[in-house]
Symmetry: C2
Subunit: 228 residues, 2 copies
């Protein structure tokens, strides 16, 4: 970690002078004071990406939900719990040159209960409300839209078709698509197999360690932003 | 940990020769391949209790959900995820002399989806089914009922009244009641303030570290079981 901090402080990397936002980890959505809805994102890919971007000289704001994997050294860490908190932290971090949305954000939140729900013989009904779509909100901003907006698509079926549709629907520039079916071992694991979808098509990258995938993506981001 | 292992191997403690079951941690109930319902139990009190019982010489089977705090040394660890898995592991551990149910078991599970639920514009409806009541099932067994069955009650309001009602309703011998309102900092924290409810009444214990609460409870269990 000390090495990274030194690298990024002294570094004359291609992202020197660039501000980059990374979101990472799961969000937790409270059901009541003791229960919550979570997801299996460990934050490993997001942390690796924050590390790789900082190592190329970027000034990284790292907005993270309650992840298992700790945030990287050499970035500004903003800790949040819910999707709504993540949106607020994300908007507070703008303007940035590039925004990478690697967090696995809950699609819904529960109309919260202030007291613990008791077992009463009848099963409870949870009322869900849709969470803000952080990726789409940022990608479709009139003011302070980052030059490069990158989303992640975690799918379990028809990965490529879902991801290409997502790129268009959200208005983002790139989508990093991966298959998080339990059989792949990717969510919560150490490797990732992604397809990068850009304006010009889809590139399937070979399965590799999350650090390698992060380095490759950080270099692509540096290429896309060009010299500062 | 080595010290504990030696203590419990060499120990001539008051629980030597006794088989004790401890459940600990949260359960996770899948919603779909990536989402699940969790709760804020860290497993700290359950792990401390397993440790304290082993230190008094007990032969401990430790059935744990996905907890943050690791299981203690010197116990037989059985890892589970859902309430239904916890019931199966618990029943498989019988017969025991005493069973302590410190896990925060989800009351409900979701009729699981095999594919990730997609956002479609309409909010999803989750169908819940009640989970098995592990404490009541064990407390009300005809065959192999442990001599001492101890439940935990995690409440956020009317702690004592809810806990006394729970002792009667479940058919267990003791209830360890605590207030898990977020303001107490108990769930996920290092201290606990419990009220022990037995056949003869309620004893309020002073707030103390979870290890101290565990030692005191383990000693009471040893007293209740008497010489082996």
């Amino acid at each position: 970690e000390i090495v990274t901090a030194i690298e990024s402080a002294l570094g004359d990397g291609p992202l020197k002078g660039r501000r980059v936002l990374v979101t990472s980890g799961p969000t937790h959505e409270p059901i009541d004071p003791v229960r919550y809805i979570a997801n299996r994102s460990s934050g490993a890919q997001g942390s690796a990406l924050g590390h790789a971007l900082a190592a190329l000289g970027a000034d990284v704001t790292f907005v993270t939900g309650p992840a298992e994997v700790p945030p990287p050294a050499g970035v500004d860490v903003v800790r949040v719990e819910t999707a709504r908190e993540m949106l607020a932290a994300t908007e507070a971090a703008l303007p940035v040159d590039a925004a990478i949305f690697a967090a696995a954000v809950a699609d819904w939140h529960v109309a919260g209960s202030e007291q613990k729900i008791k077992k009463t013989g009848t099963t409870p009904v949870l009322e869900f409300s849709e969470n803000p779509d952080i990726l789409a909100r940022v990608a479709q901003r009139d003011r302070d839209r980052p030059r490069l907006v990158v989303g992640f698509a975690a799918e379990t079926e028809n990965v490529l078709a879902h991801a290409e549709a997502k790129r268009t629907r959200k208005g983002c520039d790139w989508i990093v698509a991966n298959d998080v079916s339990p059989a792949t071992g990717i969510m919560g694991g150490t490797e990732n197999a992604v397809t990068l979808i850009t304006e010009t098509g889809a590139e399937e990258w070979p399965r590799a360690g999350k650090a390698d995938v992060a380095r490759r993506l950080a270099e692509r981001i540096a290429d896309a932003l060009g010299p500062a």
